[in-house]
């Protein structure tokens, strides 16, 4: 899981954030295979800014709450982590406060997977999608929706600077049920 500076378990509140995004080795970013869309945006601050690896540019919504970011995949994928870059110091009332993460097959059957509240975040905030059950480490879904339910200081619109979505690495050997762990097996598993 991604490291977080602090998290209070009982209410799902996240304070602060990291400057650097640190993610486990066995996760990989899945956003490239997805179609990204937003519920509304101000011209010049569109959905591209969410994926441009530039923390200076941000998406600004322009409509009614809740503001939505939709991530749609072509096939069911396993997702484990969502990381957002938000900064209260820069965005103040535009900073989201309550965030709900929903998953499902499409717009019609999204179900909430996780709900967090951010308190003056400043940097990368990681939202883990795993449940307590070990079987629920991943969310296996076609679509993910991140809903900004409310902002700090009751702001109307929201700024998000960057988003990354992570899932497990696939088995490098195709068509095999399990991955190899010992060096001997791994050495013989590929030619280079």
């Amino acid at each position: 899981m991604a490291t977080e500076s602090s998290e209070s378990e009982e209410e799902g509140k996240i304070r602060g954030g990291n400057d650097k995004l640190i993610v486990d080795d066995d996760l990989r970013e899945m956003g490239k295979n997805a179609a990204w869309s937003v519920s509304s945006c101000k011209p010049g601050n569109g959905v591209n800014t969410l994926r441009d690896d530039n923390l200076e540019t941000y998406w600004q919504s322009d409509g009614l709450q809740p503001h939505l970011i939709n991530i749609q995949f072509q096939k069911k994928v396993r997702l484990q982590l969502v990381a957002l870059y938000v900064d209260f110091k820069l965005d103040e009332s535009y900073t989201p406060s309550k965030i709900s993460v929903r998953a499902g097959d499409g717009f019609h059957n999204l179900k909430e997977v996780k709900s967090v509240e951010l308190v003056k975040p400043s940097g990368w905030v990681s939202i883990s999608l795993s449940g307590t059950d070990p079987r629920e480490t991943f969310v296996n879904t076609f679509m993910l929706q991140i809903a900004m339910l409310s902002n700090h200081l009751n702001g109307r619109d929201t700024h998000i600077r960057q988003i990354k979505v992570y899932g497990p690495r696939p088995n490098p050997i195709p068509r095999q049920p399990f991955q190899f762990t010992s060096t001997e097996f791994i050495t013989y598993s590929t030619l280079r």
């Binding site: 079987r135 690495r169 696939p170 195709p174 049920p177 991955q179 762990t181 010992s182 050495t187 280079r192």
Partner: protein, 785 residues
Amino acid sequence: MLIFGFVQNPERQRFIRLRDLARSPREKARLLKFPLAARDLLLRDNLTHTHPSFCSPNATAPSLLVQFRRQNMETLLANCVEKNLTQFMFSNAIFLCERLLAQFPSEVNLQLLARCYLSNSQPYSAYYILKGSKTPESRYLFAFSCFKLDLLGEAESALLSTEQVPGGAAGHYLLGLIYRYAGRKNSSIQQFRMALSCDPLCWEAYAELCSLGAAGEASVVFGNVAAQRLQKTNVSQRINFSGGETMDHLIDSDKVSKDTCVWQTEHVSGENQQDLKVKQLGAEIPPDSDKQCNGSSHTNGWDLKTPSPVLTQVLDAPPPMLYKNMRRPEVEGLMYVHGESRRKFMSEEESLEAPEESGRRRSARIAARRKIPLFHSYGKDSHVLHHSPSESNGVPSLSSMIGKCRIQSSKEATTSGQSIGDTGSSVDDEQNSNPRGSSPNPFSLMSGISEVLNLLKILGDGHRHLLMYNCQEALLIYQKLSEKQYNTHWVLMQVGKAYVELQDYFNADSVFTLAHQKSPYALEGMDTYSTVLYHLKEEMRLGYLAQELIAVDRLSPESWCASGNYYSLRKDHEAALKMFRRAIQLNDRFTYAHTLCGHELAALEDFEEAERCYRKALSIDTRHYNAWYGLGMTYLHQEKFEFAQHQFQMALQINPRSSVILCYFGIALHESKRNDEALKMMEKAIVADARNPLSKYFKANILADLGDYHRALEVLEELKDSAPHESSVHALLGKIYKQVKLYDKAVLNFGTALDLNPSPSDTVKIKACMERLTVPNELETEEDL
């Protein structure tokens, strides 16, 4: 100093017009007829002093004198240029040569200038000045420049414009390379074979044949025929010559003969000897020898009895015994200095560029003493160095050997990653051991030839077997080498590669480490070394190696391949891709870099781009089976199983013993429901390499899929004993026990599997399986399995 029409006053401050010197028409006429008379006039006018040029005896006709003086300037400049070239003072050489060419425009000087440009890595300049030249030497140089500039069509036409390819073995080799680059495999094979028949010591041609998969047996190629050829051409050198003898296809002899440099001409004559056709052991003057000397005042001066003391001495010295020890004393004195310096350069050259076998150098030294090869390095990326005319008849010249074996690192790094570095020590040994006083009698020559050829036989055999991927045989053959030869970088690289192909990465590691320690400057084959470290997951050593290599040479693709492998090991595929792309930028024909790019793109799941990269690698070298394997894997990932089968089949045609490829072929067959063949393939894989546990694992998997649980269990139990720390084995065992309803054993195995730290997704799977042990199979969703 007297230049036609002018004389310099003693203080050398100004030139005085001869006409002005003469006070009457009669004096004027006399002056024009006898320029030397200017001296008298100057004396009369108190304007002169004794000048060396006035002291020459035998001044006959003014034209001669003028010619002589012209020769002196030309000689001097040409001499100096040659000396600069041997001492790598290229800009000075270019400057002087340009003056030389401007003053005395001739084909020879043009070729000299082209050589200067090529030495200074300016093939474009050489290209422009040589455009349209017709003489064989010029055509060869022109073709070479075109080749450097990637103008293959022009290069080919330059070489083919007459029936005989200029440059002899070197020309054939160059033509072979051109055809290879253009993808014309059969023509290139033919050319390489011709190069070898012209000059059996053209190792590069043999290496190219090996990599094309068309090499003959080394014992045949470097066998008796070759020995005879070498012997004949070497013996023919000793036959007397008379000056001005040249052959059509001589290259440097022309250039050299036109120099009035004493030593060079003498050696040229020796070179001329070597160029006699093998059958003709007698001295001959080919009818067009004069043609070669046309337009050159030098050789004319040579033929005429010019009053040069040095030249007369040379002329007096019959056979130009270029063996040092056979020189006449007076000649020896003359030649010694020059020869010495040359030898020094030769040795430096050798240790710098180091042909692959120091044994070959011995015969080279024999050859070299006969004639001093005017070799120059054309910088790092010269395929073929200064060729000597003798190559046309297969005489081993040091230059040609160095030229041919100097596989420049970047341009021509073949997939086998041959290296040419050498330990300087072996060079010195050879040199010291060379008996200075040995007389070059036929017996020592023959023994020298046979030794060289024996060495080449071993190396050729080993190389051929390696490139046919008969790795065990190759290793055995290389063991036959003497310790001195074995410990050279190239041989160690070959041995290391053999281990790599056998998937014996530990041994490969030790060999490569040794080689790298011995020659840290030698970069050939270091890409393979980095792959070995990648397989062994030695992140630190790999990082260190990459840094070292980049420090040695930032511009070699091997260094960037090593850094790319480092990033790839850390799973930073984007960075690794960047590194490999840099390697490709540095040398577009570096096959392995393309393959590695493909691997990275496949890891990033960009399969289309990966395919493109693999195909590019294959377009450069069809026998690069790693690329076929890569293609097969991308198709497997994309579930295009028929395509995958085809790629693996192609890979197996090239390397039929690779158990990894056999395994994946089996998997592809299984996925296409050709299960019997799949199982057979797995059996083959198990036989091919008993140490590969995956073949058994995959076999068990297939059996389980087919429902043959008992056999699968047998195989897995066996595997479990030999590889107790592999979690997937236990997980699969658990799964199968579950299928046969032996739940206790299933639980046991799942537990062991979990203890062995599987990946998170596998952990999930295994835990899910455990929980559902009591649930009937139908209710399990696909993902759990």
